[in-house]
Subunit: 208 residues, 2 copies
DNA sequence: GTCTATACGCTGATAGAC
DNA sequence: GTCTATCAGCGTATAGAC
């Protein structure tokens, strides 16, 4: 059952069936452990069809990759377009990342887990793609407005999203067995307030 | 030039040359884009030799993997054996991770970046290997002694090390162009105190 | 545009001399 | 234990009918 967001066109296009099958197989076994025959079989099309549509196995992977980056980018854009504080934006992003991991596991797995350089040698790394740049942008805005601690953009951005991404990896690897959306509140607390318990006491004292 | 830590034995053993060559090639091109012939050529041995020592390409990868996990584990054990507070232990670990990334790039890349499941299907994910368990253990101890904010172990551990691991990935991907050891101090601050600037002000106010 | 049958290169692995 | 020569199978890609 294809579940990729498709452009206006028909939902059941051959392209979509092929890409969906490819995505699932690539995530299950890894790009190099999937033959074009495998994709062909799962998508219920002929090999000729695949080569007609995508030119090569690499071409198929590339199309799929672009498609997913775009979908991801739109998600980020949607959040940016909402009228939110920087902090709320970051949290919203973290939430969506966790939620995507649960509801569209393979998309996240392909974006975050797959080592594209191995089969798309000319592609820059994912983290330099548009959506990731947008994420870092948000962080920098936050530093400018004073909503986020000032410092090196890389360090701060890594701290903001590093915890979430780490949780996602653990979940994808099957080390964590429950939906990570359950961890959202606690994760956000840890990230913004830090893991040092002294800060807690400071706050508590203040509250008293 | 082989740079793997070798057991007591001679530093220039054939095993070591083969494993070092394999490590470099695997990291450069990915396991599946490296043929046994490639390894053989770089290590200046014959194919027969490789099959004699390791039985198969997968056997070579497995030996290499075990070797590196062990080396990593020893690093963690060394830190645990030192007489340090939990917090210092965590920081020491973070430092070592950053430093390893700079001085033994390929080892870290192979451990953190490589998707072992693709070529070692029966291997559990890296993050469930001994050294990672030890890292989570330290965090749990910290929660027990009150040195670390109490909470779900996964979330807290991900927050403690997530930032560092994220930085390492960015560095390995070539997105960050300077040694990440430079970021150590700031990273540790962000992690323990959180990225919320309000905490800073709280502290500052307190200090006044 | 879709299909089947086929070609051809590469790579993991072995045999057997030294 | 080390080497070279060789095999067998798989997997990408194409040719050509429909």
């Amino acid at each position: 059952m294809p579940y990729l967001k498709m452009q206006p066109v028909e939902m059941e296009s051959v392209d979509c069936r092929i890409m969906t099958s490819a995505l699932d197989l690539f995530v299950e076994r890894g790009f190099h452990n999937v033959s074009v025959h495998d994709v062909q079989r799962r998508a219920n099309v002929s090999i000729g069809s695949i080569y007609n549509h995508f030119g090569s196995k690499e071409g198929l992977a590339k199309s799929l990759y672009y498609h997913l980056v775009k979908e991801f980018e739109e998600m980020v854009e949607d959040i940016i377009d909402e009228d939110l504080s920087i902090r709320e934006r970051c949290n919203q992003l973290i939430w969506q990342l966790l939620e995507y991991t649960e509801t569209r596991r393979n998309i996240v797995a392909f974006m975050l887990h797959a080592k594209h350089r191995e089969f798309l040698p000319d592609e820059p790394p994912v983290c330099s793609a548009a959506p990731f740049k947008a994420m870092r942008n948000i962080v920098q805005q936050g530093m400018a407005t004073g909503e986020i601690r000032d410092g090196d953009p890389w360090v701060v951005a890594s701290t903001v999203f590093g915890g979430a991404i780490r949780l996602i990896h653990l979940r994808l690897d099957g080390v964590i067995n429950q939906p990570i959306t359950l961890y959202y509140d606690e994760l956000v607390d840890c990230t913004w307030l830090g893991i040092s318990p002294t800060m807690d006491s400071v706050l508590r004292e203040q509250a008293v």
